[in-house]
């Protein structure tokens, strides 16, 4: 369905853009003509994916408070503004699944730092740019990558599930608050995917039972296109 859609002038930022779902999104969005900036921690991986896709690669860690405005500056400076922010970077928290009673406080803190605070801080830093885009008629969408663990109480997924639940609620509240400025906030559950994060959680999962991140990326791009206002469709080729 999405094949052939041309996202010619859409300006999109993706966090966690060198692995898993984020990488699939960067590849798909650049292939369809969007202007893309992505963020990841490892300079070598950032350079490799930037070279491969032509997207602007930004080295940074959304869990580090001091990195946030540096990242925001590079996103809007390279893209000349921003229409879509995809907060995709996620952490499981502990190095492997753990019961809450076994979870180190620092691991819960880290999950909250990446999944909640990182997304919150970056969105806040870029909110002025998103509102400027929305008021300019281009539309503005923030997609926060969620999980069914945000809703269901899965034992051993405590740090991750609690952080994703917090992010989901933050997203819902922000969507209400930003309505008048026409900035949309969406939680998207991409499903259980064959990604490094899933392999970290369940190393012996059968990849054949998991969704390909490329397929989840298609649904996410469809969701974001549906959330853009109709007057912004000039940014997108007429294949919707």
């Amino acid at each position: 369905m999405l094949a052939g859609t041309d996202l010619k002038d859409l300006r999109v930022a993706v966090t966690g853009g060198t692995l898993g779902l984020g990488l699939a999104l960067v590849r798909m969005l650049t292939a369809q003509g969007a202007h893309v900036a992505f963020v990841a921690r490892t300079p070598e991986a950032v350079e490799r994916i930037a070279n491969e896709t032509g997207a602007f690669g930004i080295v940074g860690d959304v869990a580090r408070k001091d990195d946030i405005y540096r990242i925001a500056l590079q996103i809007t400076g390279n893209l000349d503004g921003l229409d879509v922010l995809i907060n995709n970077a996620s952490s499981l928290g502990p190095p492997m699944l753990a019961l809450l009673a076994d979870t180190e406080c620092e691991h819960l803190e880290y999950a909250l730092g990446v999944n909640v605070l990182g997304s919150f801080r970056l969105t806040k830093a870029l909110f002025g740019a998103l509102v400027a885009s929305a008021h300019g008629g281009r539309g503005a969408v923030v997609i926060n990558i969620s999980s069914d663990a945000a809703i269901n109480a899965y034992p051993s997924w405590g740090a991750y599930g609690a952080s994703k639940a917090a992010l989901r609620h933050l997203t819902a509240i922000w969507d209400q608050e930003a309505k008048a400025d026409r900035v949309r906030f969406l939680s998207v559950d991409p499903g259980d995917m064959d990604t490094p994060l899933h392999a970290q959680a369940i190393p012996d999962a059968d990849p054949a039972t998991l969704r390909r991140p490329e397929d989840s990326a298609v649904s996410i791009v469809e969701t974001l296109l549906a959330a853009l206002p109709s007057e912004a469709t000039h940014l997108v080729g007429a294949h919707r």
Binding site: R70, A72, L73, Q74, G77, G81, F127, A132, H135, A180
Partner: protein
């Protein structure tokens, strides 16, 4: 420093002079209840660059600070006009800093991960045309990682980048913060919207406020590019046609709106460059009031206020602001001045 340190924006004060020269004191949080339905607030959504870069003047081996001060082509981060300063830091008043080494065209500056070549001296040994080596992405990454916001002697803690972005900051083009915008938050904008008070933005490249050299300061403000969207021009026209007032958030908005209106009163959207100073004799064709910081007589920002109010009123204002300990810096208190009718005697009321 955290957002909660020190007297925050919630405790800021607001001093008001109305069109009749009457003065009153409010808490700045009361901005939500000012203005009338049909008025239009216009603010500058420029975000601030980390424009101060430290490093070495390669030829002499001496320490140097360069402050990016103007774009050569706006939004092209490969070339800038910059001011060179010698060793020392922001705790030392700019005017007491040692001179930078003698710089010649062709010299290279090593600025953290960035290398810059001096292309030219622009009429002064400390004003440089700089070209960074590398592409846009690498230069923005270098500025983001190594640059610091231009610091102020009155702020002890080093300013982080977040501290110099207003709540509405969108477009990273300013060299110093459009600081009147620190008075705004999203709650205030929502309250204005509920009261049918309009809010629009433009982007104006706020330049540096001081070079540390009195002769050079006379050349300030440098030419400042701006971008005024169609929707903002439409809102201005509608406001004017219906008798509403235009309230400028900051001197940069006054400069931009002074440049987009021609002698016949027609307003033009798009990109342009604001040149020259606004002063006592400058007619204000669009703006009816300004919200700004607390400025001292002699500063170019204070000169701009003379276009709004009589000198006798401004002198009285300066005395009252001093008496009531209003804080006169970028993160200080606010002043709202309504434009006084020209040619009328101003009577004082207290």
């Amino acid at each position: 420093m955290t957002a909660a340190d020190g007297p925050g924006p919630e405790s800021a004060k607001l001093f008001i002079i109305d069109a009749k020269g009457r003065m009153r004191h409010l808490a700045r949080t009361e901005l939500v209840s000012l203005f009338s339905p049909g008025d239009l607030i216009v603010a500058n959504d420029a975000a601030t660059l980390p424009a101060s870069l430290r490093g070495l003047h390669v030829a002499s081996g001496e320490l140097i600070e360069v402050r990016l001060a103007a774009w050569i082509a706006v939004r092209d981060p490969t070339r800038f006009v910059a001011i060179a300063l010698g060793a020392g830091d922001h705790r030392m008043p700019t005017e007491l800093r040692p001179h930078p080494p003698s710089i010649s065209p062709g010299d290279r500056l090593s600025l953290g991960p960035l290398v810059a070549v001096v292309e030219d001296l622009l009429g002064h040994p400390r004003v440089l045309a700089l070209r960074f080596v590398g592409d846009r992405r690498a230069i923005l990454a270098g500025l983001a990682g190594h640059g610091r916001p231009i610091q102020y002697a009155h702020v002890r803690e080093p300013l982080a980048l977040w501290r110099v972005w207003t709540r509405i900051a969108a477009d990273p083009v300013a060299f110093e913060a459009p600081s009147a915008g620190f008075a705004l938050n999203w709650r205030t904008l929502a309250a204005w919207r509920e009261r049918r008070i309009g809010f629009s933005t433009l982007t104006h490249v706020a330049g540096i406020s001081s070079t540390g050299d009195p002769a050079l300061d006379l050349r300030l403000p440098f030419d400042e590019p701006y971008r005024v969207p169609e929707r903002t021009v439409a809102a201005i026209k509608q406001t004017k046609s219906q008798g509403g007032r235009i309230i400028a958030i900051g001197t940069t908005v006054v400069r931009a709106l002074g440049s987009v209106v021609d002698a016949n009163g027609r307003v033009h959207a798009g990109d342009g460059v604001a040149r020259g100073r606004i002063a006592r004799e400058t007619p204000l064709r669009l703006v009816d009031a300004i919200l700004t910081g607390v400025h001292q007589p002699g500063e170019s920002h204070f000169e701009l206020l003379r276009a709004f109010a009589d000198d006798s009123v401004l002198n009285r204002m300066s005395m009252v602001l001093a008496e009531h300990s209003y804080r006169p810096h970028e993160f200080g208190d606010s002043v709202l001045i309504e434009r006084q009718p020209r040619g009328l005697p101003h009577r004082m009321h207290r």
